[in-house]
């Protein structure tokens, strides 16, 4: 039982990647500057706009890794997600 629990927790390792956007965004002094300017836009602005895309990419990456893992061990998923009807698109 405990071993199974540990395995379930291990399954979540990709989520550690989520620490990255938190550090990047909450570490304000790292981006509170003008230079380098990109296309006329100061660093402060284009860096944070860029992080929107990076943040989404990280979420997507975690999702992809996790779906791969769950496909391999479908049984480990039971109990974590009560029902998981594949989402119909529209």
């Amino acid at each position: 039982m405990t071993r199974e629990k540990t395995r379930n927790w291990l399954r979540y390792w990709p989520r550690l990647l989520f620490i990255i956007p938190f550090i990047a965004m909450l570490w304000v002094p790292s981006y509170n500057r003008i230079e380098p300017v990109l296309g006329g836009i100061p660093f402060f602005y284009w860096y944070q706009l860029g992080w929107i895309l990076l943040g989404a990419a990280i979420v997507l990456l975690v999702h992809m890794i996790e779906t791969r893992i769950t496909q391999v061990t479908e049984s480990s998923r039971k109990g974590l997600e009560v029902t998981d009807v594949p989402g119909d698109i529209l």
Partner: protein
């Protein structure tokens, strides 16, 4: 200002179109709308695309489109905190809410209060949730009206007296009617139109306006130097740095606790839909980032010194920056489209918010405390009526009370709603927390947060916290929820022990 005919005709035409759509929505994915989860959650059948439009329409409201650039226009870099805020939302959405969805789906929860009632077996905690949700959402609905009022005023409608309020009242009667008949299906369908209009408007704005103003370089060059960056810390205070970071983090933690966000999440058809949306919603964040930059474009265009818009600025303050920028940059027909996008952008969240409030009232106050024996049909009927009452309340609110109060209440709403975080988050993983301890934590967090805002005269939610001689100005919501959490954790073991002793002593 004189009435802009072309813009008004297009504006009204688009408004009529979404009205029609709102009523037709009742027949979309036909089901028995006399059941609360059908009326109030769209039957929990929305797939990835619809959920994307619904959450996008729900979270990026008309008020956001007006207020974020207004903040950047007025305060500069500090207003840009909306960007890190939206970046931090998505990991949280991904990690927390699919699990909440699964539990709610299995146990038939319609609201967050249902969920804590079930998880911790406490009616009082559920009551606290329902009241907090309703009180925090009401001013939010009222602020959607502010967004609508600004664009209606910018079209050139007379703004004085009863006639001035008439367009707003008509818009809300329409909104109330289609929400009543179609429930969550109406805003879900309208959100698709709304977002399409918003995307068109924003892309046009970020291409056409900089071209007119001489490029982004010229725009940023015209912004006063002190506005471009956050003021670095000086002396014993972290100043703008801690404010910026705590505002971003606190707002991100609070967002999905709002009843309307919860409604959007629970109406999804699966946990995977929510996970996919955690990545896909970034499209809206990017749009929001671009919209924030409109504040600087308004500075560069010099709309605040243009006598043509002086009356608008006098009336609406910085909130008039974006409407003025559009009026100055776009031909009339496109102004109509852009303003319709903002006004319809008010309808969607206002509808979802009133549905969420109605769900809370019906499920957690009416059925729980007043008529526990009411039938499913009674429950749904009650919710529909409450959704009307809530909207009338919002209109009265905005017409009778100075706008500043609505903004202050919305600011307090953020502090109040975040206090729901510990029970929701802890409830996902453990039931070992004591319901009373959570209730005490909630009460203390709410009181401390409100006190912090009171020390600032309710005009700012930034509280200068002093630790070891260093001042950390930061978002009161974040500070108070830490107190909430610590109290709940500290009091849980002793209160559990007391409860067990009492149970043992009364046992024969």
């Amino acid at each position: 200002m004189t009435l802009d005919r072309t813009a008004t005709i297009i504006f009204v035409a688009l408004f009529l179109f979404v009205t029609w759509l709102g009523f037709v929505a009742a027949r979309w994915r036909k089901a028995d709308l006399n059941l609360l989860h059908e009326w109030g959650l769209g039957g929990r059948r929305f797939g990835t695309m619809v959920t994307w439009f619904l959450l996008g329409g729900d979270l990026y409201t008309a008020y956001t489109f007006i207020a974020v650039p207004a903040l950047v226009f007025g305060k500069g870099a500090m207003g840009f905190f909306a960007v890190p805020y939206t970046i931090l939302i998505y990991p949280l959405l991904y990690m927390v809410f699919p699990r909440l969805w699964a539990i709610a789906h299995q146990r038939g929860h319609v609201t967050a209060a249902d969920y804590v009632r079930d998880r911790f077996g406490s009616r009082m905690l559920a009551l606290a949730f329902a009241l907090t949700g309703i009180v925090a959402t009401m001013p939010y609905i009222a602020l959607q009206l502010v967004g609508m009022e600004v664009v209606i005023g910018a079209l050139g409608f007379p703004a004085e007296g009863f006639v001035g309020h008439l367009p707003l009242i008509i818009a809300f009667i329409i909104l109330a009617a289609f929400t009543y008949t179609s429930g969550l299906r109406a805003p879900a369908l309208i959100a698709i139109v709304k977002d399409t209009l918003i995307f068109v408007t924003v892309f046009a704005a970020v291409v056409i306006i900089p071209a007119k103003l001489g490029g982004y370089g010229a725009i940023f060059a015209s912004v006063p130097k002190e506005k471009l960056l956050l003021v670095p810390p000086s002396g014993e205070s972290l100043g703008a740095y801690s404010s910026y970071a705590t505002l971003a983090l606190g707002s991100a933690l609070a967002l999905f606790l709002y009843p309307h966000a919860m409604t959007g999440i629970l109406s999804a058809s699966s946990g995977s839909v929510i996970r996919r949306n955690a990545a896909l919603l970034a499209v809206y964040s990017f749009i929001l980032g671009l919209i924030a930059l409109l504040g600087y474009m308004a500075i560069a265009a010099g709309v605040d010194t243009d006598p043509a818009y002086a009356a608008g600025f006098a009336r609406y303050g910085p909130n008039f920056a974006v409407p003025a920028l559009f009026l100055a940059s776009f031909p009339s027909w496109f102004v109509g489209i852009a303003f319709a996008a903002i006004a319809i952008g008010a309808l969607v969240p206002a509808a979802i918010m009133s549905i969420a409030c109605a769900n809370l009232f019906t499920r957690n106050l009416y059925k729980e405390f007043i008529r526990p024996d009411c039938s499913d049909a009674d429950e749904a009927r009650m919710a529909k009526i409450v959704s009307l009452v809530v909207k009338i309340g919002a209109v009265v609110f905005i017409l009778a009370i100075p706008q500043a109060y609505a903004i202050q209440l919305q600011l307090l709403g953020g502090i109040w709603i975040i206090q729901l975080l510990p029970p929701i988050l802890l409830g996902l993983y453990t039931r070992s927390f004591n319901a009373r301890a959570l209730l005490i934590g909630w009460a203390a967090g709410t009181a401390v947060g409100t006190y912090m805002a009171a020390t600032q005269g309710f005009v700012s939610s930034l509280y200068p916290l002093e630790i070891f001689g260093v001042t950390l100005p930061g978002y009161a919501a974040l500070y108070s929820v830490v107190i909430n959490f610590l109290l709940a954790a500290a009091l849980s073991p002793p209160l559990d022990l007391m409860a067990r002793r009492r149970a043992a002593s009364t046992a024969p």
